[in-house]
């Protein structure tokens, strides 16, 4: 089942002489449980793709369908509701609201959706526990390490039965070990039924995805082949990677 559908999405910034095509005719479909990476150099339109997919921006043309709902024509409030119920974001370096503890940050989208504080908090606590962060629940963002902050951000992005996780260079500011654990957590969320899109220029991160879409100058130029099934991996005839 497709959670995110981009249909011939284009985005043009500016007008007249300063017109710039950020995205051109992007088609993308992300199913429940799958992790898609968008890879491309700086300025290829990766981030724009993500903000459009998350209803933060309107495409100039084309359609975005999130969890069956068409974003075009939604009111600002409807989009806000869509974001807090369906979409979770993880950004590169700025995720948590200062002044709120980890667990408050995690339960904030639930509270914004009208769930009473106590209930939201216990759900947030459960999400943190699930990601092994229970002991950091009462810490403020500035008391957490960079890796912990990103992990709390992921907990917040998946809390409350949300189905779409969008991450923009989620481990950009982290070392590779911490970056790996962030990707591992996103993958875990996918195994739990979330559809995830990770935007990155880093092949190491992209290699965690089931599918990697290559973006260049706002166009999807290529993508990886579907991964070999477990049977294929066990089949000795299929070449396994090796270094020899």
């Amino acid at each position: 089942m497709s959670i995110l559908e981009l249909q011939r999405v284009s985005k043009v910034y500016g007008e007249g002489d300063t017109e710039v095509d950020a995205l051109t005719d992007i088609d993308l479909s992300v199913n429940r449980g799958s992790l898609v990476a968008i890879m491309g150099p700086s300025g290829s339109g990766k981030s724009t793709l993500l903000t459009i997919a998350g209803s933060l921006e309107e495409p100039t043309s084309g359609d975005v369908i999130i969890d069956g709902a068409r974003v075009r024509g939604m009111s600002r409030n409807d989009k806000a509701r869509l974001r807090r119920r369906t979409v979770g974001y993880v950004f590169q370096d700025f995720n948590l609201l200062a002044g709120l503890t980890a667990v408050e940050n995690v339960s904030l989208p639930l509270e914004l959706d009208g769930i009473p504080m106590k209930k939201a908090r216990s759900k947030g606590m459960a999400a943190l526990e699930g990601l092994g962060l229970a002991d950091r629940a009462e810490s403020y963002p500035d008391q957490l390490s960079g890796g912990e902050r990103q992990r709390v951000a992921i907990a917040r992005a998946v809390v409350g039965e949300r189905s779409l996780l969008l991450a923009d260079e989620p481990s950009g500011a982290l070392d590779s070990v911490n970056g790996e654990s962030v990707m591992r957590m996103i993958l875990t969320a996918c195994h739990g039924g979330v559809a995830a899109v990770v935007v990155t220029h880093d092949a190491k991160l992209a290699s965690w995805a089931d599918r990697v879409v290559f973006l260049r100058d706002g166009q999807a130029v290529d993508e990886t082949l579907p991964p070999p099934s477990p049977e294929e991996l066990l089949n000795p005839d299929v070449p396994k990677p090796s270094l020899s």
């Binding site: 950020a22 981030s47 092949a203 290559f214 290529d222 270094l243 020899s244």
Partner: protein
């Protein structure tokens, strides 16, 4: 990859039989580098010849021979661990040559060539990552070896990215200069891809 020194390292833990050495070598490198039997015994014979290891000489069958490290062998191992590998000579990399050739051929889209290789490399990395993914039987040595491979592949991808960018700039400049001389059009009115 020096099998010679890896075997010496294994022997430095204590005397070992030939078959045991092969087994341990494969586990210690996380099964990333499969080793054929012949390689192991040839290497062991050479070690014995150079006085770096010695066998008890009881058995004729190499698999049953018990090997131990000599003092000279210990010194050699220690020297080797500290000697940096020779990186000053660039390896004659096939991929680099392919891209260089493609960039000179008029009828070949070099960017297409680059993308084919990039995709292949990323797919390769996906496979390695997937091996690492399953944490249930986590193996430190294996993870280290896989990381090494991922970093190596990643560096190649990055080289492709930078080659891509460099070639693109050169082609853009040459296009602009032709346009300037012939049409004098307002350049890059619609330059694409402004935002990250």
């Amino acid at each position: 990859m020096s099998i010679r020194h890896s075997l010496l390292a294994l022997l430095s833990e204590g005397p070992k039989y030939g078959f045991q050495l092969r087994q341990e070598f494969e586990t210690s490198t996380g099964d990333v580098w499969p080793l054929n039997v012949g390689q192991v015994y040839t290497t062991l014979q050479r070690l014995e010849r150079d006085g770096l290891a010695q066998s008890d000489d009881v058995e004729e069958d190499e698999r049953q021979k018990n090997y131990r490290i000599t003092e000279k062998g210990g010194e050699e191992l220690s020297r080797w661990l500290r000697t940096p590998p020779d990186l000053s000579e660039p390896p004659r990399d096939e991929l680099v040559i392919k891209v260089l050739v493609a960039s000179r051929l008029p009828n070949v889209d070099v960017f297409d060539v680059i993308q084919v290789h990039r995709r292949y490399l990323v797919q390769l990395m996906q496979q390695w990552t997937r091996m690492k993914e399953d944490e249930s039987h986590f193996d430190l040595a294996f993870a280290l070896a896989v990381d090494a491979e991922l970093f190596r592949l990643d560096s190649v991808v990055r080289w492709l990215d930078s080659a891509d960018g460099r070639l693109r700039r050169v082609s853009l400049e040459s296009v602009e200069s032709t346009m300037d001389s012939t049409f004098a059009l307002p350049s890059n009115r619609r330059r694409t891809g402004a935002r990250r």
